[in-house]
Protein backbone atom coordinates (compact mmCIF):
# COMPACT_ATOMS: atom_id res chain seq x y z
CA UNK A 1 0.00 0.00 0.00
CA UNK A 2 1.30 3.45 -0.83
CA UNK A 3 1.36 6.28 1.67
CA UNK A 4 -1.37 8.09 -0.24
CA UNK A 5 -3.61 5.00 -0.04
CA UNK A 6 -2.98 4.82 3.70
CA UNK A 7 -4.12 8.43 4.02
CA UNK A 8 -7.38 7.57 2.27
CA UNK A 9 -7.99 4.79 4.82
CA UNK A 10 -7.04 7.08 7.68
CA UNK A 11 -9.52 9.66 6.44
CA UNK A 12 -12.12 6.88 6.53
CA UNK A 13 -11.36 6.34 10.21
CA UNK A 14 -9.19 3.23 10.08
CA UNK A 15 -6.76 3.42 12.96
CA UNK A 16 -4.76 0.48 11.60
CA UNK A 17 -3.79 2.59 8.61
CA UNK A 18 -2.53 5.33 10.93
CA UNK A 19 -0.43 2.72 12.72
CA UNK A 20 1.11 1.65 9.40
CA UNK A 21 1.88 5.25 8.52
CA UNK A 22 3.39 5.72 11.97
CA UNK A 23 5.60 2.65 11.54
CA UNK A 24 6.88 3.98 8.25
CA UNK A 25 7.40 7.61 9.09
CA UNK A 26 7.72 8.19 12.82
CA UNK A 27 11.38 7.10 13.07
CA UNK A 28 12.77 9.48 10.46
CA UNK A 29 10.46 12.30 11.51
CA UNK A 30 11.75 11.94 15.05
CA UNK A 31 15.36 11.85 13.87
CA UNK A 32 14.83 14.95 11.80
CA UNK A 33 13.02 16.81 14.58
CA UNK A 34 15.98 16.07 16.82
CA UNK A 35 18.07 18.18 14.44
CA UNK A 36 15.74 21.14 15.03
CA UNK A 37 15.45 21.14 18.80
CA UNK A 38 17.43 19.65 21.66
CA UNK A 39 14.43 19.30 23.94
CA UNK A 40 13.45 15.63 23.88
CA UNK A 41 10.05 16.09 25.49
CA UNK A 42 9.10 18.84 23.04
CA UNK A 43 10.05 16.55 20.18
CA UNK A 44 8.00 13.67 21.54
CA UNK A 45 5.00 15.92 21.98
CA UNK A 46 5.41 17.41 18.51
CA UNK A 47 5.57 13.91 17.02
CA UNK A 48 2.40 12.87 18.83
CA UNK A 49 0.70 16.10 17.73
CA UNK A 50 1.72 15.34 14.17
CA UNK A 51 -0.04 11.99 14.02
CA UNK A 52 -3.09 13.32 15.85
CA UNK A 53 -3.29 16.05 13.22
CA UNK A 54 -2.85 13.47 10.45
CA UNK A 55 -5.71 11.49 11.97
CA UNK A 56 -7.96 14.53 11.85
CA UNK A 57 -6.89 16.03 8.54
CA UNK A 58 -5.85 13.08 6.38
CA UNK A 59 -8.71 13.92 4.04
CA UNK A 60 -7.11 17.24 3.21
CA UNK A 61 -4.11 15.67 1.53
CA UNK A 62 -4.67 16.37 -2.14
CA UNK A 63 -2.08 14.08 -3.57
CA UNK A 64 0.36 16.81 -4.54
CA UNK A 65 3.95 15.97 -3.71
CA UNK A 66 5.35 13.30 -1.42
CA UNK A 67 3.39 12.27 1.64
CA UNK A 68 6.71 12.37 3.49
CA UNK A 69 7.15 16.04 2.67
CA UNK A 70 3.55 16.73 3.71
CA UNK A 71 4.18 14.96 7.03
CA UNK A 72 7.35 16.91 7.61
CA UNK A 73 5.46 20.15 6.96
CA UNK A 74 3.06 19.22 9.74
CA UNK A 75 5.77 17.96 12.09
CA UNK A 76 7.97 21.04 11.88
CA UNK A 77 4.99 23.31 12.48
CA UNK A 78 3.84 21.25 15.45
CA UNK A 79 7.34 21.58 16.85
CA UNK A 80 7.12 25.33 16.40
CA UNK A 81 3.78 25.36 18.20
CA UNK A 82 5.31 23.43 21.07
CA UNK A 83 8.33 25.74 21.18
CA UNK A 84 6.06 28.78 21.20
CA UNK A 85 4.29 27.49 24.27
CA UNK A 86 0.84 26.36 25.10
CA UNK A 87 -1.09 28.65 22.75
CA UNK A 88 -1.48 26.82 19.49
CA UNK A 89 -2.23 28.83 16.39
CA UNK A 90 -4.03 27.24 13.48
CA UNK A 91 -1.98 24.97 11.33
CA UNK A 92 -0.95 26.66 8.16
CA UNK A 93 -1.25 24.48 5.12
CA UNK A 94 2.20 23.04 4.75
CA UNK A 95 3.70 23.41 1.35
CA UNK A 96 4.33 20.05 -0.21
CA UNK A 97 5.86 21.29 -3.41
CA UNK A 98 9.47 20.44 -3.65
CA UNK A 99 11.50 23.63 -3.64
CA UNK A 100 14.09 24.25 -6.32
CA UNK A 101 16.76 24.50 -3.65
CA UNK A 102 15.75 21.14 -2.31
CA UNK A 103 15.98 19.52 -5.70
CA UNK A 104 19.42 20.96 -6.21
CA UNK A 105 20.57 19.81 -2.79
CA UNK A 106 19.26 16.30 -3.18
CA UNK A 107 20.91 16.03 -6.56
CA UNK A 108 24.36 17.37 -5.97
CA UNK A 109 25.00 16.28 -2.41
CA UNK A 110 28.42 17.70 -1.82
CA UNK A 111 28.68 19.86 -4.90
CA UNK A 112 29.37 23.54 -5.46
CA UNK A 113 26.28 24.71 -3.59
CA UNK A 114 27.24 22.46 -0.72
CA UNK A 115 30.64 24.08 -0.52
CA UNK A 116 29.05 27.52 -0.64
CA UNK A 117 26.71 26.63 2.17
CA UNK A 118 29.54 25.23 4.23
CA UNK A 119 30.99 28.73 4.35
CA UNK A 120 27.96 30.03 6.21
CA UNK A 121 28.18 30.62 9.95
CA UNK A 122 25.94 28.36 12.07
CA UNK A 123 23.54 31.28 12.65
CA UNK A 124 23.11 31.94 8.94
CA UNK A 125 22.90 28.24 8.14
CA UNK A 126 20.12 27.76 10.68
CA UNK A 127 18.09 30.48 8.96
CA UNK A 128 18.73 28.99 5.50
CA UNK A 129 17.64 25.61 6.81
CA UNK A 130 14.43 26.93 8.34
CA UNK A 131 13.40 29.31 5.57
CA UNK A 132 14.57 27.53 2.43
CA UNK A 133 14.94 23.84 3.23
CA UNK A 134 12.02 23.49 5.64
CA UNK A 135 9.95 26.02 3.73
CA UNK A 136 8.89 27.93 6.82
CA UNK A 137 7.55 31.48 6.82
CA UNK A 138 9.64 34.24 8.36
CA UNK A 139 7.48 34.24 11.45
CA UNK A 140 7.63 30.47 11.86
CA UNK A 141 11.40 30.48 11.48
CA UNK A 142 11.62 33.26 14.05
CA UNK A 143 9.60 31.23 16.55
CA UNK A 144 11.62 28.09 16.01
CA UNK A 145 14.99 29.80 16.28
CA UNK A 146 13.80 32.18 18.99
CA UNK A 147 15.02 35.30 17.20
CA UNK A 148 13.11 38.38 15.97
CA UNK A 149 11.55 38.25 12.50
CA UNK A 150 13.73 41.16 11.37
CA UNK A 151 16.81 39.14 12.25
CA UNK A 152 15.55 36.21 10.18
CA UNK A 153 15.18 38.49 7.17
CA UNK A 154 18.59 40.12 7.45
CA UNK A 155 20.36 36.81 8.08
CA UNK A 156 18.67 35.20 5.09
CA UNK A 157 19.70 38.13 2.91
CA UNK A 158 23.29 37.90 4.12
CA UNK A 159 23.35 34.14 3.59
CA UNK A 160 22.09 34.48 0.04
CA UNK A 161 24.67 37.18 -0.63
CA UNK A 162 27.51 35.01 0.67
CA UNK A 163 26.38 32.00 -1.32
CA UNK A 164 25.98 34.08 -4.48
CA UNK A 165 29.55 35.32 -4.10
CA UNK A 166 30.81 31.77 -3.60
CA UNK A 167 29.06 30.50 -6.69
CA UNK A 168 30.17 33.23 -9.08
Amino acid sequence: MTDAELLVDIAAGQIGALRDLYDRHAPWLAARLRHRSSDRSLIEEALQDTFVVVWRTAGRYRGEGDVAAWLWGIAIRKLIDRVRGSRTPRLERPSVMESAEEAVLAGIGYGELGKAMARLSPELMAVVQARILDGLSTREAASLLRIPTGTVKTRLMRAKQIMREQLT
Binding site: I15, R32, H35, A68, A103, A126, Q129
Partner: protein
Protein backbone atom coordinates in the same frame (compact mmCIF):
# COMPACT_ATOMS: atom_id res chain seq x y z
CA UNK B 1 17.15 8.86 -7.85
CA UNK B 2 20.74 8.26 -8.72
CA UNK B 3 22.20 7.80 -5.27
CA UNK B 4 21.27 6.40 -1.88
CA UNK B 5 22.41 7.00 1.66
CA UNK B 6 24.52 4.24 3.20
CA UNK B 7 23.93 2.96 6.72
CA UNK B 8 27.07 4.49 8.32
CA UNK B 9 26.13 7.92 6.95
CA UNK B 10 22.61 7.58 8.33
CA UNK B 11 24.03 6.53 11.69
CA UNK B 12 26.27 9.58 11.76
CA UNK B 13 23.29 11.76 10.85
CA UNK B 14 21.28 10.38 13.74
CA UNK B 15 24.13 10.97 16.15
CA UNK B 16 24.40 14.54 14.90
CA UNK B 17 27.82 13.82 13.44
CA UNK B 18 27.16 15.21 9.97
CA UNK B 19 27.80 18.87 9.23
CA UNK B 20 24.77 20.95 8.48
CA UNK B 21 25.18 20.93 4.72
CA UNK B 22 25.47 17.16 4.54
CA UNK B 23 22.59 16.80 6.99
CA UNK B 24 20.42 19.10 4.89
CA UNK B 25 21.29 17.20 1.76
CA UNK B 26 20.40 13.94 3.44
CA UNK B 27 17.10 15.35 4.65
CA UNK B 28 16.20 16.65 1.23
CA UNK B 29 16.87 13.18 -0.14
CA UNK B 30 14.80 11.40 2.52
CA UNK B 31 11.81 13.55 1.60
CA UNK B 32 11.64 11.58 -1.62
CA UNK B 33 13.19 8.21 -0.84
CA UNK B 34 11.38 5.67 1.29
CA UNK B 35 14.26 3.23 1.01
CA UNK B 36 16.64 5.64 2.75
CA UNK B 37 14.01 6.68 5.32
CA UNK B 38 13.85 3.11 6.54
CA UNK B 39 17.53 3.22 7.46
CA UNK B 40 16.71 5.32 10.52
CA UNK B 41 17.04 3.26 13.67
CA UNK B 42 14.14 2.67 16.04
CA UNK B 43 14.05 2.42 19.81
CA UNK B 44 11.17 -0.09 20.18
CA UNK B 45 10.31 0.95 23.74
CA UNK B 46 9.92 4.67 23.06
CA UNK B 47 8.36 3.92 19.69
CA UNK B 48 5.56 1.85 21.22
CA UNK B 49 5.02 4.22 24.12
CA UNK B 50 4.65 7.12 21.72
CA UNK B 51 2.11 5.19 19.71
CA UNK B 52 0.07 4.40 22.83
CA UNK B 53 -0.06 8.08 23.67
CA UNK B 54 -1.19 8.95 20.16
CA UNK B 55 -3.83 6.21 20.17
CA UNK B 56 -4.99 7.42 23.57
CA UNK B 57 -5.44 10.98 22.38
CA UNK B 58 -7.31 9.84 19.30
CA UNK B 59 -9.65 7.61 21.29
CA UNK B 60 -10.38 10.34 23.79
CA UNK B 61 -10.82 12.85 21.02
CA UNK B 62 -13.31 10.59 19.33
CA UNK B 63 -15.76 10.78 22.20
CA UNK B 64 -15.85 14.53 22.55
CA UNK B 65 -18.35 15.97 20.13
CA UNK B 66 -18.62 19.16 22.16
CA UNK B 67 -14.86 19.28 22.56
CA UNK B 68 -14.30 19.15 18.83
CA UNK B 69 -16.93 21.84 18.27
CA UNK B 70 -15.17 24.02 20.84
CA UNK B 71 -11.78 23.45 19.26
CA UNK B 72 -13.15 24.26 15.84
CA UNK B 73 -14.46 27.56 17.13
CA UNK B 74 -10.96 28.50 18.25
CA UNK B 75 -10.89 27.40 21.90
CA UNK B 76 -7.40 26.08 22.85
CA UNK B 77 -7.54 22.28 23.07
CA UNK B 78 -6.52 21.93 26.72
CA UNK B 79 -9.32 24.33 27.69
CA UNK B 80 -11.76 22.55 25.40
CA UNK B 81 -10.98 19.30 27.20
CA UNK B 82 -11.79 20.53 30.71
CA UNK B 83 -14.79 22.53 29.56
CA UNK B 84 -16.20 19.52 27.73
CA UNK B 85 -15.64 17.43 30.87
CA UNK B 86 -17.65 19.84 33.00
CA UNK B 87 -20.79 18.19 34.37
CA UNK B 88 -22.95 21.05 33.09
CA UNK B 89 -22.41 19.82 29.56
CA UNK B 90 -23.32 16.25 30.34
CA UNK B 91 -26.51 14.78 28.93
CA UNK B 92 -27.92 14.39 32.46
CA UNK B 93 -27.71 18.12 33.16
CA UNK B 94 -29.11 19.11 29.80
CA UNK B 95 -31.94 16.64 30.31
CA UNK B 96 -32.65 18.02 33.78
CA UNK B 97 -32.72 21.57 32.42
CA UNK B 98 -35.15 20.57 29.70
CA UNK B 99 -37.40 18.75 32.17
CA UNK B 100 -37.53 21.74 34.50
CA UNK B 101 -38.33 23.99 31.56
CA UNK B 102 -41.07 21.68 30.33
CA UNK B 103 -42.76 21.82 33.74
CA UNK B 104 -42.22 25.56 34.11
CA UNK B 105 -43.60 26.21 30.64
CA UNK B 106 -46.54 23.89 31.29
CA UNK B 107 -47.31 25.61 34.58
CA UNK B 108 -46.98 28.99 32.90
CA UNK B 109 -49.45 28.14 30.18
CA UNK B 110 -51.93 26.29 32.44
CA UNK B 111 -53.87 29.42 33.39
CA UNK B 112 -53.15 32.20 30.94
CA UNK B 113 -54.27 35.62 32.02
CA UNK B 114 -53.77 34.99 35.73
CA UNK B 115 -50.08 35.82 35.57
CA UNK B 116 -48.95 32.20 35.72
CA UNK B 117 -46.31 33.04 33.10
CA UNK B 118 -44.33 34.37 36.07
CA UNK B 119 -43.51 30.82 37.13
CA UNK B 120 -41.24 30.63 34.12
CA UNK B 121 -39.65 33.97 35.02
CA UNK B 122 -38.88 32.68 38.50
CA UNK B 123 -37.50 29.30 37.42
CA UNK B 124 -35.45 30.25 34.35
CA UNK B 125 -32.86 32.42 36.18
CA UNK B 126 -32.20 29.57 38.63
CA UNK B 127 -31.07 27.12 35.95
CA UNK B 128 -27.59 28.61 35.38
CA UNK B 129 -27.20 28.92 39.17
CA UNK B 130 -27.68 25.18 39.51
CA UNK B 131 -25.36 24.72 36.57
CA UNK B 132 -22.56 26.70 38.22
CA UNK B 133 -22.91 24.59 41.34
CA UNK B 134 -22.31 21.55 39.17
CA UNK B 135 -19.60 23.13 37.08
CA UNK B 136 -17.12 23.40 39.91
CA UNK B 137 -18.46 21.33 42.76
CA UNK B 138 -16.28 18.78 44.49
CA UNK B 139 -19.19 16.38 44.99
CA UNK B 140 -20.60 16.34 41.50
CA UNK B 141 -17.59 16.76 39.24
CA UNK B 142 -15.90 13.44 38.43
CA UNK B 143 -12.97 15.37 36.98
CA UNK B 144 -12.59 17.52 40.10
CA UNK B 145 -9.18 16.18 41.12
CA UNK B 146 -8.00 16.31 37.55
CA UNK B 147 -9.14 19.90 37.26
CA UNK B 148 -7.36 20.96 40.44
CA UNK B 149 -4.20 19.25 39.32
CA UNK B 150 -4.21 20.72 35.83
CA UNK B 151 -1.88 23.66 35.30
CA UNK B 152 -4.71 25.93 34.18
CA UNK B 153 -5.67 29.14 35.88
CA UNK B 154 -8.66 28.11 38.02
CA UNK B 155 -10.31 31.49 37.52
CA UNK B 156 -10.19 31.25 33.76
CA UNK B 157 -11.45 27.70 33.88
CA UNK B 158 -14.38 28.79 36.03
CA UNK B 159 -15.16 31.51 33.49
CA UNK B 160 -15.09 29.06 30.61
CA UNK B 161 -17.30 26.61 32.44
CA UNK B 162 -19.68 29.34 33.52
CA UNK B 163 -19.93 30.43 29.90
CA UNK B 164 -20.76 26.84 28.94
CA UNK B 165 -23.42 26.66 31.65
CA UNK B 166 -25.00 29.95 30.60
CA UNK B 167 -25.02 28.90 26.97
CA UNK B 168 -26.71 25.58 27.70
CA UNK B 169 -29.27 26.74 30.25
CA UNK B 170 -30.18 30.10 28.71
CA UNK B 171 -30.17 28.59 25.24
CA UNK B 172 -32.65 25.96 26.41
CA UNK B 173 -34.80 28.60 28.10
CA UNK B 174 -34.91 30.57 24.86
CA UNK B 175 -36.36 27.51 23.15
CA UNK B 176 -39.29 27.48 25.55
CA UNK B 177 -39.82 31.23 25.82
CA UNK B 178 -42.13 31.54 22.75
CA UNK B 179 -44.54 29.07 24.39
CA UNK B 180 -44.88 31.16 27.55
CA UNK B 181 -47.96 33.42 27.30
CA UNK B 182 -46.29 36.50 28.70
CA UNK B 183 -47.78 39.91 27.96
CA UNK B 184 -45.99 41.75 25.19
CA UNK B 185 -44.63 44.25 27.71
CA UNK B 186 -42.53 41.49 29.27
CA UNK B 187 -39.54 40.70 27.09
CA UNK B 188 -37.03 37.92 27.57
CA UNK B 189 -34.84 40.43 29.40
CA UNK B 190 -37.19 39.83 32.32
CA UNK B 191 -35.49 36.51 33.02
CA UNK B 192 -32.16 36.94 31.24
CA UNK B 193 -30.99 39.89 33.36
CA UNK B 194 -31.87 38.22 36.67
CA UNK B 195 -30.20 35.06 35.36
CA UNK B 196 -26.96 36.94 34.82
CA UNK B 197 -27.25 38.68 38.18
CA UNK B 198 -27.84 35.44 40.06
CA UNK B 199 -25.11 33.57 38.18
CA UNK B 200 -22.53 36.26 38.83
CA UNK B 201 -23.53 36.38 42.49
CA UNK B 202 -23.07 32.62 42.73
CA UNK B 203 -19.65 32.92 41.11
CA UNK B 204 -18.66 35.72 43.50
CA UNK B 205 -19.79 33.63 46.46
CA UNK B 206 -17.79 30.66 45.15
CA UNK B 207 -14.61 32.51 45.97
CA UNK B 208 -15.55 31.95 49.61
CA UNK B 209 -17.87 28.94 49.76
CA UNK B 210 -18.28 25.70 47.89
CA UNK B 211 -20.25 26.46 44.71
CA UNK B 212 -23.09 24.23 45.94
CA UNK B 213 -23.39 26.31 49.12
CA UNK B 214 -23.17 29.56 47.18
CA UNK B 215 -25.89 28.53 44.77
CA UNK B 216 -28.07 27.41 47.68
CA UNK B 217 -27.77 30.85 49.26
CA UNK B 218 -28.55 32.56 45.97
CA UNK B 219 -31.56 30.34 45.24
CA UNK B 220 -33.00 30.88 48.71
CA UNK B 221 -32.38 34.63 48.47
CA UNK B 222 -34.03 34.85 45.05
CA UNK B 223 -37.15 32.99 46.22
CA UNK B 224 -37.36 35.06 49.43
CA UNK B 225 -37.27 38.27 47.43
CA UNK B 226 -39.36 37.32 44.44
CA UNK B 227 -42.25 35.39 46.01
CA UNK B 228 -43.45 38.16 48.36
CA UNK B 229 -42.86 40.72 45.60
CA UNK B 230 -45.29 38.92 43.32
CA UNK B 231 -48.25 40.17 45.35
CA UNK B 232 -47.06 43.76 45.52
CA UNK B 233 -46.50 45.33 42.12
CA UNK B 234 -44.50 44.00 39.22
CA UNK B 235 -41.20 42.33 40.25
CA UNK B 236 -40.12 42.11 36.60
CA UNK B 237 -40.66 45.77 35.73
CA UNK B 238 -38.06 48.29 34.68
CA UNK B 239 -37.21 49.23 38.25
CA UNK B 240 -36.53 45.64 39.21
CA UNK B 241 -34.45 45.12 36.05
CA UNK B 242 -32.26 48.09 36.93
CA UNK B 243 -31.75 46.56 40.37
CA UNK B 244 -30.81 43.22 38.79
CA UNK B 245 -28.37 44.94 36.50
CA UNK B 246 -26.81 46.72 39.48
CA UNK B 247 -26.48 43.45 41.35
CA UNK B 248 -24.92 41.81 38.30
CA UNK B 249 -22.37 44.62 38.06
CA UNK B 250 -21.41 44.53 41.76
CA UNK B 251 -21.15 40.74 41.75
CA UNK B 252 -19.08 40.79 38.57
CA UNK B 253 -16.62 43.29 40.04
CA UNK B 254 -16.36 41.29 43.26
CA UNK B 255 -15.79 38.10 41.29
CA UNK B 256 -12.92 39.62 39.31
CA UNK B 257 -11.38 41.24 42.39
CA UNK B 258 -11.35 37.92 44.22
CA UNK B 259 -9.90 35.93 41.33
CA UNK B 260 -6.78 35.00 43.31
CA UNK B 261 -8.89 33.12 45.84
CA UNK B 262 -9.85 30.54 43.24
CA UNK B 263 -6.29 29.64 42.47
CA UNK B 264 -5.36 29.45 46.14
CA UNK B 265 -8.28 27.15 46.76
CA UNK B 266 -6.93 24.84 44.13
CA UNK B 267 -3.57 24.57 45.82
CA UNK B 268 -4.77 23.75 49.34
Amino acid sequence: MTWHIDQPTMNRYEEGGLDRVAASSLEAHTNQCGQCRSLVSVDPGIFELQWLKIADRIEVGRRGLIERALERSGVPDHIARVVALSPALRASFVLAVLLVLVFAAAASTSNPGAGSYRIFLIVAPLLPVAGVAMAFGKLVDPAHELTLASPIDAFRLLLWRAAAVLTVSLGAAFLFWPVVPAPSTVGFAAWVIPAFALTLTTLALSSRFEPSVGSGIVTAGWLLVILPALDSGNPFGAYAQALSLGLAFVAGVLFVLRRDHFNRKGQS
